[in-house]
């Protein structure tokens, strides 16, 4: 390998292993191309504002004089920002270092000489593929007004409007829907072109020599034909001869067919794609949420759980592949995906990190076999996600535990325990349940102690909860993972500890506020 190639390969490896370079590249990729990146939307909004400002200035200056600084802003500043964006997109569209490394490894493996020519060819072809894409061409045209001294190029400001396609997801969806009917639209376009061409020529032949006819040129004949076939019919150019009017009738009838066909194509394209669009939208929305609860199976208990979770401001997603249950969930206003919760494919399609984005997966089918199957599926793809499952038949408890469920919910056991407490201490039972009910003003709240809180409040006695009429039930110590009931006054508070308080929700709010502001 010659010296230049060696330096080139070394440099490529350097870039590949450079944390700072890769971090920058990933950042720009995310902000430009990754819809799941949380800051991308701010960048998109910024670009849309630039586009509209630019076009507004163009419209304003048609009949008025525009201040120099606005021209400067439009011609240079915005163009420069677009130029930088174009270069960044070109940079992140493909990795040059990857091509070099790949070629080096390939050459190494086959014992061949490193081919710089192959690298150049591949890099140029990758970059050209991007440059020649429609979006990149629009981007490039949008930069053209930079050369605003060339008056003609000012009109390219309008191309900036097309850049909106990049930032507005709905336009992309619209385009993808229409693409699905490419063949039909092509056939329609061919039919309309032939009718327009033939009728233009016919009307020209029949009307051009008639002194009473407004059609004198082929251009006017073409204009008449388009206006007629589109069923717009301005009436400024009309056929006057008998033969010409006959052609007009044929074109009008063809126009009705073309319009009907076009409308039906749009409708059918959207109808066919509607479910897919909704599904993609749901997946996109889900990917943006944090701490979502995924309910697998939508039956009686699931329905009640979903209602309560939504009431408690949780994000909920229902996965079920039964049409009727999916329908019921949709009717109840829930976010639903018609996916089988027992297949890995479903979670792949969801494309979310179960460990970080999901609060819990709830296997709520009233069927132990289905719940075990779902639990095993989830556990096979993620070891950490918190999972709860209903148990219908006590004999299946061990199977559910073996499938990796964290918490088993056996409703018969709950009923038994409730009954036990009720017959033992009915007054206490009713009192506690009234305090815990949703309608009660008295709430039990967990308050996590932050670094900031414990820096000001060191001991339990400093909490001053009684001043706020709040009852301190105890502290959950993070370090020992133990709950200390009714802690002593000089118990040390540490960051990460959780205090359990009870009281009127307004007083709890005040108490919390006091903790943070103290």
């Amino acid at each position: 390998m010659n010296l230049f190639n060696r330096y080139l390969v070394d440099f490529a490896y350097f870039l590949k292993t450079s944390v700072s370079y890769q971090r920058k590249r990933r950042f720009f990729y995310n902000i430009l191309e990754n819809d799941d990146y949380r800051y991308k939307k701010y960048f998109d909004i910024f670009m849309i504002i630039l586009i509209f400002s630019s076009v507004s200035i163009l419209i304003y200056e048609v009949k008025r004089d525009v201040h120099d600084y606005l021209n400067m802003f439009n011609g240079y500043v915005i163009s420069f920002i677009f130029f930088v964006e174009y270069i960044l997109r070109l940079w992140v569209s493909s990795s040059v270092s990857k091509v070099i490394i790949h070629q080096d490894e390939y050459a190494d493996l086959l014992g061949r000489e490193f081919s710089l020519w192959f690298v150049v060819k591949k890099v140029v072809s990758d970059k050209l593929e991007y440059i020649l894409s429609v979006k990149a061409i629009i981007d490039l045209l949008a930069i053209m007004p930079f050369f605003h001294e060339l008056r003609l190029l000012r009109i390219f400001i309008l191309f900036r409007v097309f850049k909106i396609f990049r930032y507005a997801k709905s336009f992309q969806t619209f385009a993808s829907v229409l693409t699905s009917k490419k063949f039909e639209f092509f056939t329609l376009a061919m039919f309309a072109s032939i009718v327009i061409f033939v009728s233009s020529v016919l009307i020209y032949v029949m009307e051009a020599n008639n002194p009473d006819s407004p059609i004198d040129t082929l251009y006017e004949a073409f204009y008449w034909s388009i206006v007629t076939i589109s069923t717009v019919g301005y009436g400024d150019v009309v056929a006057v001869s008998y033969e010409g009017r006959f052609v007009a009738m044929v074109v009008i009838l063809s126009g009705i067919a073309v319009m009907a066909f076009t409308t039906s194509l749009f409708v059918s394209a959207f109808t066919e794609k509607l479910e897919e669009i909704k599904e993609n939208k749901t997946i996109l929305d889900v990917s943006k949420t944090k701490n979502i609860c995924i309910i697998c199976g939508y039956e009686n208990i699931a329905k009640e759980v979903a209602k309560k979770l939504i009431h408690s401001k949780f994000d909920v997603l229902v996965l079920d592949d039964d049409k009727q249950r999916v329908f019921n969930a949709k009717k109840d206003g829930l976010t639903v995906l018609d996916y089988n919760p027992g297949t890995i494919e479903s979670y792949k399609k969801l494309n979310i990190d179960l460990s970080t984005k999901v609060k819990a997966i709830l296997c709520l089918r009233e069927d132990d076999v289905e719940n075990v199957y779902t639990a095993l599926t989830v556990r096979s793809i993620n070891k950490d996600v918190y999972m709860m499952s209903l148990l219908i038949n006590q004999t299946n408890r061990n199977k559910l535990l073996s499938s990796g469920v964290n918490e088993i919910l056996y409703d018969k056991e709950f009923i038994g325990l409730i009954v036990k407490e009720y017959i033992g201490q009915p007054v206490a039972f009713e009192a506690i349940h009234e305090l815990r009910s949703e309608d009660s003003n008295i709430k039990i709240k967990e308050i996590a102690l932050t670094e900031r809180i414990v820096s000001n409040i060191t001991f339990v006695k400093n909490l001053e909860n009684l001043n706020f009429r709040v009852l301190l039930l105890g502290i959950y110590k993070k370090s020992s993972k133990r709950f200390f009931f009714n802690p002593l006054k000089d118990t040390l508070l540490e960051s990460g500890d959780v205090i359990l308080v009870m009281g009127n929700y307004i007083f709890i709010k005040e108490f919390e506020k006091n903790l943070s502001h103290k």
Binding site: D411, V419, F485, L500, M502
Partner: protein, 231 residues
Amino acid sequence: MKSVSALIFGFNEYGLEIARNVQYKYENIAMFNLEKSEFMSIKDVDYTLRLFDLSDDWDDIEDEFDMEKSIIFCAIRDEAKNIFLTISLRSYFKDATIISLANNQEDTNKLKMAGASKVIPIVETTADIITDMLKKPIATEILHNILYEDSALKIAQVKVKNLEYFEDRFPADINWSEKFGVLVLSIVHENMSREFIYSSKSKHTLLKDGDMLIVVGYDTDLKEFEKKIGG
């Protein structure tokens, strides 16, 4: 002599679970079912198993059980039959304690109208527990242990008798945890109205003989507390 029993209607998993949890308090558990076939499938049960029908003939039961002290559980899985059973038992035993299981809110209301003393809605209760576990995992676990499990922490209802301990002070002004090592959650007055310990009313109303305190604490502290102030 009539026995004090738990009469459980519905020989199913709910009924059996109820039986397991109430046997510590009742000397006899009698389980009733509409079908004989279900009895055959279960062996090794220590409970009295009987058949019944939904006619209004409860004379046998009245002759055999002390219905004033006994408790009835209606746990038949068929909702219509369970409601019919509840109304039938209530019309015959006016003062009996009848606890019925309901599937949903609609059945809960019907069972209350049918005269059940207490209705436990299965679906709603399970959903509440699941939601609470997600919303407040620590609080739910602690309360679950206090209420249902054999943990060192217990909840108790203590009837106030020795008012001199409170020296004419309002309940909200007493430092219960320091004085007795327990936490008083609420006060239940003689008319069964309930107040949170730090509610405005508790701040301005003195305790009376016969009021009940709902207290949480360790077993020994609770016993000591009960000995001092309770009856």
